[in-house]
């Protein structure tokens, strides 16, 4: 076991040192930005013992509030990581990567041999010009006012809460936008608000204007298990949205029905794009319940939880009391637990699924999940009640051992 452990941990360490999003460097930077976002409002000094000065401070606070309302908001601040005190509008990475931290948690990792110019900083974002080279961007979406724009030559990449790699070669006029997650919109020669979403890559050239959009589909785990991964992930070419000047006047409107076909083919992202073109909300209001459930499942697979939630809530609104409504409650519970990390909300949905269909096949699963999220949330007393009920109702249930352990 010792030989194996040593060799295995070395292989793990090698993976940790790899470049790219699964290396330690990228993971730590990403988690740091998100943690910094969470700290907003937490990372403040403990209450002072000098309570007698409170009346004076209250007056000062009132004055500050007036100043806040009258004066413009303070713009974000930025620092170059590892070089305290060094900040500026023009930043050049020579030998290695340079990380630029903004005070809202946004990070721009400027790749080696690259240059950026921060042309404008506001309270809600900034305009950054990539003069040449590449940068990995992780924007923190704080609120609806968040506005970040990245410019490269004649292109503009408008961002709201996302992670992506941006490359610009001024000599060839070539632009690349490779998405890790989220959505950006690109404007430029031949492009008008071209959306690029998770796992897509846009390549564009300014002269003559041309662009290609690719969807990268990693091989399924099961298939990858069966044979060595010697081939790169499959890449599919997607249609590019034409700029208004190039758009054919009689271009037929996209047909929303294709979302179902694409979903059946396992292309959740393509299906979501088609559903979006047809009008996602309209589909949730007009399709039969099984299709709305599927639309939600497709959104979840495409990692668009807000859309999934909308679809499943619509099922509950349109078909109350049906099996589909209970199935939607189960899905909403799972979404709350696994994606939103909101155990209280998850518990509510699972409890509802149990209450609505106490004798259905879904009941033991729903009750087990309810129990799990209560334990996870530290609601021990409530969990014990559910555990007792679970043991009584489902003595052969899959969760019975854990329920009994809890009751000991």
């Amino acid at each position: 076991m010792k030989d194996f452990s040593e060799k295995y941990t070395k292989a793990l360490e090698k993976q940790a040192a790899e470049p790219g999003k699964h290396g330690d460097k990228a993971i730590l930077a990403g988690a740091r930005a998100r943690f910094a976002e969470k700290l907003h409002g937490v990372d403040s000094p403990a209450p002072s013992k000098w309570r007698f000065v409170m009346p004076v401070l209250s007056a000062a606070a009132a004055a500050a509030l007036v100043a806040f309302l009258v004066w413009p908001e303070t713009p974000l601040s930025m620092t170059v990581r590892g070089q305290p005190g060094l900040s500026g509008e023009f930043i050049q990475a020579k030998a290695g990567d340079e990380a630029i931290d903004f005070s809202d948690g946004t990070e721009v990792l400027l790749r080696s041999e690259s240059e950026v110019r921060v042309t404008r900083v506001t309270a809600h974002g900034a305009d950054v010009l990539l003069e040449k080279g590449a940068a990995h961007v992780a924007v923190v979406h704080r609120d609806k006012q968040t506005r970040w724009n990245f410019h490269a030559g004649p292109y503009r990449v408008a961002v709201v809460g996302t992670k992506f790699e941006l490359r610009w070669n001024p000599e060839t006029g070539g632009l690349e936008v490779e998405m890790d997650e989220g959505i950006v919109e690109v404007d430029g020669p031949g492009l008008s608000k071209q959306r690029v979403t998770t796992r897509q890559k846009l390549e564009a050239f300014s002269n003559p204007p041309r662009a290609s959009l690719y969807l990268e589909t990693p091989p399924a785990l099961a298939a990858a298990d069966a044979q060595p991964q010697t081939e790169p992930p499959s890449v599919r070419v997607l249609p590019i949205k034409k700029s208004p000047a190039e758009k054919a006047p009689e271009k037929p409107k996209a047909q929303g029905a294709t979302w179902r076909y694409l979903a059946d083919q396992g292309d959740a992202i393509g299906a979501m794009r088609a559903a979006d073109e047809a009008g996602f909300s309209w589909l949730t209001r007009s399709l039969p319940k099984s299709d709305v459930l599927l639309l939600g499942d497709t959104a979840r697979k495409a990692r668009q939880p807000a859309y999934a939630r909308e679809a499943w809530l619509r099922v509950r609104e349109r078909f109350p009391g049906s099996d589909a409504a209970t199935a939607a409650a189960m899905r909403l519970g799972d979404l709350a637990a696994a994606v939103e990390h909101n155990d209280a909300s998850a518990a509510k949905w699972f409890a509802l699924a149990v209450k609505e269909a106490p004798n259905a096949d879904t009941a033991p699963v729903a009750m087990g999940r309810w129990l799990e999220v209560l334990v996870h949330d530290g609601k021990t007393a409530e969990a014990k009640k559910v555990a007792a009920d679970y043991v009584k109702r489902f003595p052969n249930g899959e969760k019975v051992a854990e329920a009994r352990e809890l009751l000991r």
Partner: protein, 210 residues
């Protein structure tokens, strides 16, 4: 109004850092993150194996730490406490994934396993490809172990903790930790021995049980 997130490293001792955290001094949390996040990630990597959700997990550990740091009394307990928190987070995630397989969602949020070929030249050699395949197969074997046994096993063999540290990290008695490690070793050896890629990688004539 936003406040700047300091990027200057905190140079004080763990005692000073703990004081600063409990007094909620500005910047202390990011300093805490910068000091301990690499360790948290290292533990997660060993326990979870290659995984596409490591970033989420690191962030979750530190979010939980925000709520619990007031209960840490001594600075030398800071790291073991954070390790327990990391194990707890990994355990919740692994259990949740098991549950999720019950639901007819066809996959879920596990995403990729963090082993896709990024196309980097260093990662496309045959050795690197074989190594990724082995990491994936080991993960498949680990995923088949009961979660609590897997935690004790990986902490002992991959993280290299002493038995008492394993017991403390997972919050069980020493004898329970030993029993779980023993059970996991038995299952792991049986399952891994059936994996030709793992056997070949380890080298002919070498055994897991040596």
């Amino acid at each position: 109004m936003t406040k700047p997130s300091p990027s200057v490293s905190f140079v004080g001792s763990d005692e000073r850092l703990l004081e600063a955290l409990q007094a909620r001094r500005p910047g202390a949390w990011l300093a805490f993150y910068d000091r301990f996040a690499p360790y948290v990630l290292s533990v997660l990597r060993r326990v979870m194996g290659p995984d596409g959700e490591l970033e989420d997990l690191v962030q979750e550990v530190f979010s939980r730490a925000l709520e619990g740091v007031a209960r840490v009394r001594e600075a030398d307990k800071l790291k073991p406490w954070l390790r327990s928190l990391t194990i707890f987070t990994a355990r919740s995630t692994l259990k949740r994934r098991r549950w999720r397989r019950w639901l007819p969602l066809g996959g879920g949020d596990e995403g990729d396993d963090g082993l896709e070929n990024s196309g980097h030249p260093a990662l496309t050699t045959s050795d690197a490809v074989q190594e990724r395949l082995v990491l994936r197969r080991v993960k498949v074997v680990l995923d088949r172990l009961p979660v609590d046994e897997r935690l004790c096993f990986t902490l002992r063999h991959f993280e290299g903790l002493e038995l008492t540290e394993v017991a403390e990290a997972v919050g069980v008695s020493l004898s329970t930790a030993k029993r779980r490690i023993w059970a996991a070793e038995k299952t792991f050896n049986e399952l891994a021995a059936r994996e030709p890629e793992i056997r070949a990688w380890l080298g002919e004539g070498r055994s897991f049980e040596s």
